[in-house]
């Protein structure tokens, strides 16, 4: 597959995530759109790692070029899992205080 197809797919998914963050007001759906953006970047990293691997395979059959891209994806998943657990705890705490997850009501840090 040409690398451009993967780039366009990842860009479109990323833009859908950004539009979701901008137009939705439910904090949980905003959070899910952030996950969507993280996943599009992961897909792009894997595609680029396979692109560099394909270029290096021509000269060396046993090369492991591109393996660090896939490990970056693994670490991004780790960080995303930690982020989700803390973020959902914050959303639950705000819901307990204000009985709403509308981000327009959550625009002040006080109270």
């Amino acid at each position: 597959m040409p690398i451009q197809y993967y780039i366009y797919l990842a860009l479109t998914l990323f833009s859908i995530g950004i539009i979701g963050v901008l137009i939705r007001r439910n904090a949980i759906i905003v959070f899910m759109c952030i996950e969507l953006m993280l996943n599009s970047v992961n897909l792009l990293l894997v595609a680029f790692s396979k692109m560099h691997h394909a270029a290096a395979l021509v000269t060396d059959k046993a090369t492991s070029v591109g393996i660090d891209g896939q490990l970056f994806v693994f670490f991004i998943m780790v960080v995303a899992a930690a982020e989700v657990s803390v973020g959902l705890a914050i959303i639950v705490m705000m819901y307990r205080n204000t009985h709403s997850v509308d981000v327009n009501f959550l625009n002040r840090l006080k109270n």
Binding site: P2, I19, I28, E35, H53, A54, L57, V78, A80
Partner: protein, 166 residues
């Protein structure tokens, strides 16, 4: 058109339609289910790129753990009905237009990048995505970030409990 191309376009269409439905569905539970469909499509792309370890981890961590967490929070808050108030149409249109502008700028940038021409992402071949090779790299070259991420997990766990306990 080979089987790889057919699978690629099918998974791409599935990912894009499901991602759009995440935004457009009114019910947050439906959004979560569509997002799980997006994650399955992206896992299919990983398998197509022969990144088997990442495909399985994506399914287990994202579609399994994170989405169940989202579902539990939504059900805990009883948000499974239309709770969003009527929103400002101008703001929605402005958000969609600005996101579309960003997409247009990025796509035109990629179109101009001539060094991408002719490069292919290797599908079905290459063994860097197998568990054996990734495990060797993870526990030799990347062992320090691996241990630091375990500390990060521990602190995230403590943070979630402290925030949730109040």
């Amino acid at each position: 058109m080979g089987i790889t191309a057919i699978l690629f376009w099918f998974l791409t269409a599935l990912a894009l339609v499901s991602a759009l439905m995440v935004l457009l569905s009114k019910n947050p539970v439906h959004s979560v289910l569509w997002l799980i469909a997006v994650f399955f499509a992206i896992s299919g792309h990983y398998i197509l790129l022969n990144a088997q370890f990442l495909a399985i981890v994506n399914l287990i961590v994202y579609a399994g753990a994170i989405m169940v967490l989202f579902l539990f929070v939504i059900m805990l808050m009883n948000l499974n009905k239309e709770t969003e108030p009527k929103k400002n149409w101008m703001m929605k249109i402005a958000g969609a237009v600005s996101g579309g502008c960003l997409l247009m700028v990025l796509v035109s940038l990629v179109k101009q990048a001539t060094e991408m021409n002719g490069k292919i992402a290797l599908t079905k071949e290459g063994n860097i995505g197998l568990i054996e090779n990734l495990g060797k790299a993870l526990f030799s070259d990347f062992v320090v970030p691996f241990e630091i991420s375990s500390v990060l997990f521990l602190s995230a766990m403590v943070g979630a409990v402290v925030i949730g306990k109040k």
